[in-house]
Symmetry: C2
Subunit: 336 residues, 2 copies
């Protein structure tokens, strides 16, 4: 059966486009506070689990060894927009581990931020791997390998110890075995493992509650989450959705976007995690759904980056982005 | 009922995202050679009908008056990527009508082509209205107003004579009255009218067959289609989907993309028009479906721009874009 329509895009008197998807909100035991659509099929979390991919960086002792503080840890969890603030810090992380940009395996791409891309070209430079939105994550992975005396060659490959450690941390956090049947390769070349949205949501509830986790793991997680709330501008960039939410609701909402229409996060005060996926992968629908969910929990939250309209190039509002009646009704059933 | 899944995006062993949509292929009488999903609901054609929006430019005599040849007419039908070739020609069209860039009402945006945007910034310039992908269409509209002695003020508004003429030409071509109940405003600020995909497909069949049209209209259409096949590089830009298809299959396929997942076109030798819309508005799925349709009609067509994979930033194929089994089966039933 098709997932329900969550987001509608209207133009004039008509609905022009519509986005289907699924949402799971869970406590740390797996009790679902909300279930919309099919939450049982494996979904790649993509970049939404960068906070979990950063666990070995802390737990191996590499972060402490190289003197990485909250800023470096935040960047390791980031899908950043490639401003100088981000690239300089990624470069510094590499230098402290005795490496440089060429050690990265993530590949280069034009900065995600339009202004950053413009500045780069105006200055006559070309994008390098530091501009890749995952450069902080990769710098952290490399630091872990160096600290543990491993070869950095092919550190992004699924069978390299760096990625095996990430896999084991995620398996431990989600309580599932993640084999080749759910393994895909992300755009930045590291492996990513699919799991049901229900499991993903439970994992994020455990992340913020620490329920059932060893003290060392809980401590590592606190450092990671604390770093993200302390330096939200590093997680994405100025005025970006994730950055603004972390700025507006520190310690109340953790949130991270993933490619192909994924959003994961958690509400620590409520002990709930969430995971959602738009079938077609549209970012506008994923962030619209995530903002609607957050507004259901925190209706008085000021200035959330909830895009409700699309403007013409002249600047007039010509289209709207809105929650479907189905989504609105479903959110109201959310057991708080 | 949900439209069927037409395109799947896979990663590793799993389908990561999927796109639903509808397709109509029709002859000039409205007999459907193919019907996939719901083809009866009104859909905005957006830029897919630029060839029709250009009819008054020819039929008013404005094109002849200002000496617009096939290049200028092609640009009036274009969603171009904003290279210097495109902006210079749009500027020249305006100058011949005694106007300049400031007369345009389309608004400015960064060139759609990444290379064009990069060149622009490297040269230290900012985008202006000539870089808008619709600047050729707007220049043609302005030329029509000037030629007919009308004020150019607000020429983009639904009640301006320029847009009324466009409306009447489209109403005549589609055989339907298009009222405020189906009127939306496009990103470039001119009105756009929604119609069922079945009607849109029939309209494109009439466009290429001329069935039931007055001789003057047929002549105008021949100039427009001829211009697009003669100068495909102006319609979009080098290596762009529409440009490559027009280059590879001149006089066999007419094709034009529209925003929010629309594709329209026609197969003149078969007397068939087509129109398709991806529910969620995704371009990758719209062009994937359009290429699958063209390959069904012309299976031996060489080098169509059919994107079948997504690469990592390192350059490895990590995901695929493919037709669903449903789409493949449906296309095989197409009555040629």
């Amino acid at each position: 059966m098709a997932n329900p329509i969550l987001i509608e895009v209207t133009r004039g008197p008509l609905v022009e486009s519509w986005h289907r998807g699924a949402i799971a909100v869970s406590d740390s035991e797996g009790l679902l506070a909300l279930k919309v659509g099919n939450v049982s099929e494996p979904i790649y979390p993509r970049s939404a689990i960068k906070a979990l991919q950063a666990l070995p960086l802390i737990e191996s002792g590499a972060a402490d060894h190289f003197g990485y503080g909250p800023r470096e840890i935040a960047l390791a969890c980031a899908s950043h927009i490639g401003t100088e603030m981000h690239t300089t810090l990624a470069d510094e992380m590499l230098h402290r581990a005795g490496l440089s940009e060429t050690a990265l395996g993530c590949g280069a791409h034009v900065p995600l931020g339009a202004a950053a891309a413009k500045e780069l070209y105006k200055s006559g430079h070309e994008p390098n791997q530091l501009h890749n939105n995952c450069s902080g994550k990769h710098a952290g992975m490399l630091a872990t390998a160096i600290h543990l005396g491993e070869s950095t060659s092919g550190y992004w490959k699924p069978d390299h110890p760096v990625q095996r450690r990430v896999l084991h941390a995620i398996e431990d956090m989600c309580g599932e075995r993640l084999g080749p049947d759910v393994e895909g390769i992300d755009g930045c070349s590291v492996p990513n493992w699919a799991m049901p949205l229900s499991v993903m949501a439970r994992m994020f509830a455990r992340l913020v509650t620490g329920d059932g986790l060893a003290p060392q793991r809980r401590q590592a997680i606190q450092r990671i989450l604390g770093a993200c709330w302390e330096h939200p501008e590093l997680i994405a960039g100025p005025r970006r959705t994730d950055t603004v939410v972390l700025q507006k609701l520190p310690e109340r909402v953790f949130i991270k976007t993933g490619a192909e229409g994924v959003y994961c996060g958690a509400f620590p005060k409520l002990g709930l995690g969430f995971a959602l996926k738009i079938d077609d992968g549209a970012k506008r629908a994923a962030s619209g759904t995530a903002m609607a969910l957050i507004e259901q929990i925190y209706p008085l939250a000021p200035g959330l980056p909830h895009q409700r309209s699309i403007k013409s190039w002249r600047g007039d509002e010509v289209a709207t982005i809105r929650s479907s009646i189905f989504l609105e009704d479903a959110l109201q059933t959310l057991k708080r």
